[in-house]
């Protein structure tokens, strides 16, 4: 059983196809691993699956609880959707099933994808498989923890400002946020609609390409989806000769942990060894990403979350009063602290007298950030940064300081605002500030819109050169 769990998705598909591994045995092995979850990473687990045929034939996939799944409870990590069973399945999940994959389980997450530590789930925090006193990152914390902790072969999540890349970095796995529009958002419970994007969390870059290939494409149910022209193939590149990598000149961000900076700089050297060129490029507005993002995303969220009113689905409270009292009580009891904070922030930013100063200006900053990238991509193929300023932090360390929590997204938010793809790959281990066992560090590569193939090819070459093989010492799944 144990050796089945060692196979990457690509390897497992090949073995299943060749008849060397039985579908039933493979699924049973993962079902057993998932049943041993001690990380609070799963909210629901499937009893059966693994029957499908195709590019992902027989592969179980862990799915963030933000994706609607027909007949299976979908809560988005919120009390307000407790017991909600959607009538339909999200397009991304449906396409995975069409490629032969099946849902292994639904994973825990920050409520409505709002958070960077998974501590905002109404169903309790997820623990990091590398150190159970630390956070797995968020908001796709459950999806990252099950892949890092060998409780699933692969997973999908959503990324609005870093929610795939940051937890992937903190759990030592690969996380890809595709270009906005690459994958349909139909059936994804909305947080900030102009930013939300689905993507894979996997053990390696090849598996990320496999999942992306299955999920991408235009969908009549999401008019903002366009797909990736020419599709996506398994990455093959072995060197980085002739490719130019930009390091933002403004990267002298004083909050980067020394250990993270060391791994980042060692990775830049690897790029040069592979024939890549590295130079500084100005991205002067990227540092305003946090300001713009924490206006735009809450503004969109305050509108999207207006639908949770105790009328059509989810829970209802305060029924004894009038209609307004029912709305207010349902929302007061159904939403957690962070969601309330963002609804308040967004409502304030959109309210009369403040709209121009906050929402209007933030949208203009968004334009400037996109222009910075366009200028950089005129001279460079990629922009690289650490994925997160620190390795996984301790549970509770940042829960009392919302702004400190938001700063985790410093390196991931600008790409979301610009709508461009970015991948985080594990680049090494570093000692956290304050000491303790070494923890994984993510290296982030961003590319122009819809250049996923080039991005995956480069990430693949770099992944091979890095040869990251460390894994959680205290195996989460036993």
């Amino acid at each position: 059983m144990g050796e089945l769990l060692e196979l990457s998705v690509a390897q497992a598909v090949a073995r299943i196809e060749a008849g060397e591994v039985s579908r039933g045995e493979y699924f049973a092995a993962w079902r057993q691993a998932a049943a041993g979850d001690e990380l609070n990473a799963y909210l629901w687990r499937a009893e059966e699956g693994g029957e499908g045929e195709g590019a992902l034939g027989g592969i179980p996939v862990a799915v963030k609880d933000l994706f609607c799944t027909d007949g299976v409870e979908t809560t988005a990590g919120s009390r307000i959707l407790e017991g909600h069973r959607p009538l339909y399945t999200a397009t991304a999940v449906r396409k995975l099933a069409e490629a032969g994959a099946s849902v292994l389980g639904k994973t825990n997450m920050d409520e409505f994808a709002m958070g960077s530590s998974n501590e905002n789930s109404a169903y309790g925090p997820v623990l990091n498989p590398w150190d159970r006193e630390r956070v797995p990152g968020g908001s796709s914390g459950g999806s990252a923890a099950v892949v890092g902790g060998r409780l699933a072969p692969c997973a999908i999540g959503t990324d609005t400002g870093g929610s795939i890349r940051q937890p992937a970095a903190l759990c030592g796995i690969v996380g890809l946020k595709p270009t906005y529009g690459a994958i349909s958002r139909y059936g994804m419970i909305a947080f900030a609609s102009s930013l939300d994007q689905c993507g894979p969390l996997t053990r390696d870059v090849t598996d990320a390409a496999l999942l992306l290939a299955a999920m991408q494409g235009r969908d009549p149910c999401d008019s903002t989806s366009v797909g990736i022209e020419g599709g996506v193939e398994a990455p093959r590149r072995e060197d980085l000769a002739g490719l130019r990598f930009a390091v933002p000149a403004e990267l002298a961000h004083d909050a980067i942990e020394p250990g993270v900076r060391e791994v980042f700089e060692a990775t830049l050297k690897r790029i040069e060894e592979l024939g890549g060129e590295i130079a500084e490029a100005p991205l002067p507005h990227a540092e305003h990403g946090i300001s713009a993002y924490y206006v735009i995303a809450p503004a969109e969220a305050s509108s999207n979350l207006a639908r949770y009113d105790g009328v059509r689905y989810g829970i209802r409270k305060g029924e004894a009063g009038d209609l307004i009292e029912m709305y207010e009580t349902t929302r007061a009891e159904g939403f957690g602290e962070e969601v309330k904070r963002r609804i308040m922030l967004g409502t304030y930013a959109l309210s009369s007298g403040y709209y121009e100063a906050y929402y209007g200006r933030a949208q203009k900053v968004r334009t400037k950030i996109a222009e910075d990238y366009a200028a950089a991509f005129a001279r460079f193929d990629f922009v690289v940064t650490p994925t997160s300023p620190s390795v996984a932090f301790r549970l509770g360390e940042k829960t009392d300081d919302p702004l400190a929590m938001y700063m985790n997204d410093f390196f991931t938010v600008p790409m979301s605002l610009a709508g461009i793809p970015a991948i985080s790959i594990p680049a090494g281990l570093a000692t956290p500030n304050g000491g303790g066992p070494e923890l994984p560090v993510g290296f982030q590569i961003a590319a122009p819109a819809f250049a996923e193939q080039r991005l995956l090819d480069a990430a693949y070459a770099l992944e091979r050169a890095i040869g990251f093989e460390a894994r959680p010492g205290d195996g989460a799944g036993g």
Partner: protein, 95 residues
């Protein structure tokens, strides 16, 4: 600085009931976040077009063909208080 009155006003707009403790805390937290956000007030942005969406798409249309809706019973099954084929809510007017 966000004052208590502003917090209460915004909470009312958002249909959120906040406890006294939440109002206090929210005033401080929102002020802290907005202080940081205010850095963009210093940028020169007069000539900049706002971005509301990153994909250059407009007026995505589809054929206007009738198709079945979700079955009414299945939809109502998800509601906290379905009655007579509809969503029942408390009276909008206090008794």
């Amino acid at each position: 600085m966000i004052e208590r009155d502003q917090v209460l006003h915004v909470a009312k707009l958002a249909r959120l009931r906040l406890s006294d403790a939440e109002v206090e805390r929210m005033a401080g937290e929102l002020s802290g976040i907005l202080d940081h956000v205010d850095r963009i007030a210093k940028l020169e942005l007069d000539e900049v077009e706002p971005t509301s969406h990153v994909v250059a798409l407009e007026n995505v249309l589809r054929a206007d063909e009738p198709r079945p809706s979700w079955p009414k019973d299945a939809v109502l099954e998800q509601a906290p208080d379905p009655a007579e084929g509809a969503f029942r809510v408390p009276s909008p007017q206090a008794e």
